[in-house]
């Protein structure tokens, strides 16, 4: 909540009064509730894989089938060029991993507040816990798909580069992008339920704006490359190809992408904090 905590000493004194304008972020409160984030993420994962066999199968099948479709239509029929002549299946699968992680996280985050309305109206905890804990569940799917990728790379005899060590940071960047945008969308969704109809479209448009099925090198000049990198997922996906397939390093793009994420995240946090004080009243 945006309750202004005027003072909080060892005695845990809390002052509740009307908050006006922009509230402080109070991220320390979020840290205090880290166990709740853990348990809510754990709940989402548990529930998702409760019918175990089917759940895991889908996590593998979905990216594989998507990759097959892309490879047949775009790689084989349309002959879309890849970077460094990497086989199209690997080329698209490497991009699909972060993309699906991101798309999944964004979708869950946007719906998270409305989906947990019963918690919002009955218990206090920092409201940020809800969207933040919505992103984690997709990591299990990501890990499973990653195993498939390893198989695929072995099959095509592609050696990853040492840059693979950067992958965790790239994954983090993808998740932060999802949280940043998800903060805006989830808070808006509480007030305007149209948002949940808008999200699939946003994700679809974003997909075409990201170099998943094509190479970012088709963007003409270096100047336009930087404009293109305003889409953080462009930086993330180029980073993935660089780390795993040894394509050209996206240094400048990644810097721009990271900066955009930071701006989106901070503005999203403030917007969320401002909106959250009415969540319980209108959700």
């Amino acid at each position: 909540m945006s309750l202004k905590v005027v003072s909080r000493n060892e005695n845990d004194t809390i002052v509740l009064q009307p908050a006006r304008g922009w509230a402080g972020l109070n991220l320390r409160d979020l840290w205090k509730y880290r166990e709740l984030i853990y348990f809510l993420t754990w709940r989402d994962i548990k529930v998702r894989y409760k019918q175990a066999l089917l759940g895991v199968a889908w996590a593998i099948l979905q990216p594989i089938l998507t990759m097959v479709i892309f490879s047949v239509i775009l790689g084989y029929l349309l002959n879309v060029p890849t970077d460094n002549g990497v086989p199209y299946p690997v080329f698209s699968f490497v991009a699909l991993l972060p993309w699906q992680l991101f798309a999944n996280a964004l979708q869950r985050t946007s719906a998270s507040l409305v989906g947990n309305a019963n918690l919002l109206t009955k218990v206090y905890f920092p409201r940020l816990v809800i969207p933040v804990s919505a992103v984690g569940a997709g990591l299990v799917d990501f890990a499973i798909s990653f195993l498939v990728l390893i198989g695929l790379m072995l099959f095509y005899r592609i050696q990853p580069t040492w840059n693979i060590l950067w992958l965790p940071l790239l994954v983090l960047l993808a998740l932060l992008t999802a949280i940043a945008v998800g903060l805006w969308l989830s808070a808006l969704n509480v007030q305007y339920r149209d948002v949940q109809h808008m999200v699939p479209f946003v994700i679809q448009a974003w997909f075409y704006a990201s170099p998943v099925v094509y190479s970012a090198s088709i963007i003409p000049s270096a100047k336009w490359q930087l404009v293109y990198a305003l889409n953080p997922m462009a930086g993330v996906i180029q980073g993935f190809r660089w780390a795993l397939l040894g394509t050209q390093a996206p240094d400048a793009s990644l810097a721009v992408s990271s900066a955009v994420v930071v701006v989106l995240l901070i503005s999203g946090l403030f917007f969320f904090k401002r909106m959250e004080r009415t969540f319980a009243d209108i959700v």
Binding site: I14, E35, K46, K122, V123, Y124, F125, A280, D281
Partner: protein, 426 residues
């Protein structure tokens, strides 16, 4: 200040009625609404009455203090502001004005089983629910066995809770909540659930909490529980604090006519479906023996239920039905205004006009608890004009009922005063 756990100063909470009754769920609605407002504004200046009508003070100018270790009761009719007060104190919603100072960790129980997931097992839900209520993982682990024992669902602890009976579910949910150990506990009506045996256990647990010197704010419709657990009680009415007194005095004040108002359901024109014509419901009311409209009646006194309605055209064979349900939805009885053959003969044809159908519910009939009244207007085998299954909620207070000298909950829906005889045979 050091001995004050909660200080509430001039607290107020305003809701926009628009946000409550006709929420703008979509951007389109919002745009239409904004358009309408501009048009209205152009037509005539927005006067202050219109502004006042679109907002509602659920709570206003409320000030009180709770000392450390005190158990304070909060009573008031539905809509008096009790829930709003609890929501502010539990930090779920912001106050609109005033301020609250709280010293100590607050745990709130506005509902049991918040966040329970049907697919997860009892064990998993204990952890999840505990974390949601603000317990640390180590704390849950330490109390796990105790929680399971209290809930009496040991055998099913690894079964998904969707397979639990509603009783088991509630027991487990309450067990987790009961093991929360905050310095300040805010409790709303959670004891109104479960069977009588379990309610007793819960009341016992609440009593323990109070004994341990923790500060408790206890909201309830159950006057016996208020009397048993609290020494002092505040009475809220229409968002204001009207009395703070020793609990017996506060309960008396609340139950005495006039302060338990609101036992009334009014139907606005837009709530009545067009098919209802020519029947137009106006109001359903509950009146105590003295004729005051109340939402809490006493088990030991008779009360009146009245249905006010209008017929815009003559009707043949009309009967007004009254349905009484327990708070859990089990039917108690059904009765029609023309159940007596003679009444039916006399009122077979009702001309257009303004009517009142009323009946008296006798004293010593209903047991304590919450009840729901539904009404219906129909012509037998011809047409059902109107129906509202949950028109009005009310409470029955057991004060003075048979057996009240034993502090235990009586099972059953009825609480008759039976004519017992005791004979010595040898």
């Amino acid at each position: 200040m050091s001995n004050i756990a909660i200080r509430v100063e001039d607290l107020g909470k305003r809701y926009r009625i628009g946000a409550l009754a006709q929420r703008n769920d979509t951007l389109r609605d919002q745009l239409v609404d904004v358009g309408g407002r501009i048009v209205r504004r152009l037509r005539r200046r927005v006067d202050s009455t219109e502004q006042a009508a679109s907002t509602l003070w659920a709570l206003r100018h409320v000030s009180f203090e709770v000392e450390r270790g005190q158990v304070l009761g909060v009573i008031g009719r539905n809509g008096a502001g009790k829930s709003t007060l609890l929501k502010i104190l539990s930090r779920i919603t912001d106050p609109t004005e005033g301020r609250v100072t709280i010293r100590g960790r607050v745990g709130s129980l506005l509902e049991v089983g918040t966040g329970f997931h049907p697919e997860l097992t009892g064990r998993e839900n204990i952890y999840l629910n505990g974390a949601i209520l603000g317990m640390k993982r180590s704390e849950i682990e330490r109390k796990f066995d105790e929680i399971v024992a209290f809930s009496e669902v040991e055998q099913f602890i690894d079964t998904p809770v969707k397979r639990y009976s509603s009783g088991m579910y509630l027991r487990l949910a309450f067990a987790v909540a009961a093991h929360l150990e905050p310095e300040i506990l805010v409790v709303d009506e959670v004891l109104a659930v479960g069977d009588a045996e379990f309610q007793k256990k819960c009341l016992g647990k609440m009593g323990d909490v109070a004994q341990q010197g923790r500060t408790v704010l206890f909201v309830s419709h159950n006057m016996s529980a208020i009397l048993r657990l609290t020494q002092e009680t505040i009475v809220l009415d229409k968002g204001s604090l009207v009395l703070r007194a020793a609990s017996p005095e506060a309960v008396d004040y609340y139950l005495s006519a006039g302060h338990a108002r609101a036992g009334e359901r009014l139907w606005e024109a837009d709530e009545i479906p067009p098919e209802a014509a020519p029947f137009r419901p106006i109001a359903l009311r509950l009146r105590d023996r003295r004729g005051a409209v109340v939402d809490t009646v006493r088990s030991v006194e008779s009360f009146t239920v009245e249905v006010e309605y209008r017929l815009t055209a003559p009707l043949t064979g009309l009967r007004i039905g009254l349905y009484l349900y327990t708070g859990r939805g089990e039917p108690v009885f059904t009765s029609f205004d023309t159940d007596e053959a003679a009444m039916f003969e006399q009122h077979t044809d009702r001309p257009a006009g303004h009517y009142l159908s009323r009946c008296v519910i006798p004293a010593d009939l209903l047991n304590q608890g919450r009840y729901t009244l539904g009404i219906n207007a129909s012509s037998y085998h011809i047409k059902r004009y109107f129906e509202d299954d949950q028109a009005l909620d009310f409470n029955v207070d057991p004060a003075g009922a048979p057996g009240m000298h034993w502090a235990e909950n009586r099972q059953g829906v009825v609480r008759p005063r039976l004519d017992w005889q005791i004979e010595r045979l040898a």
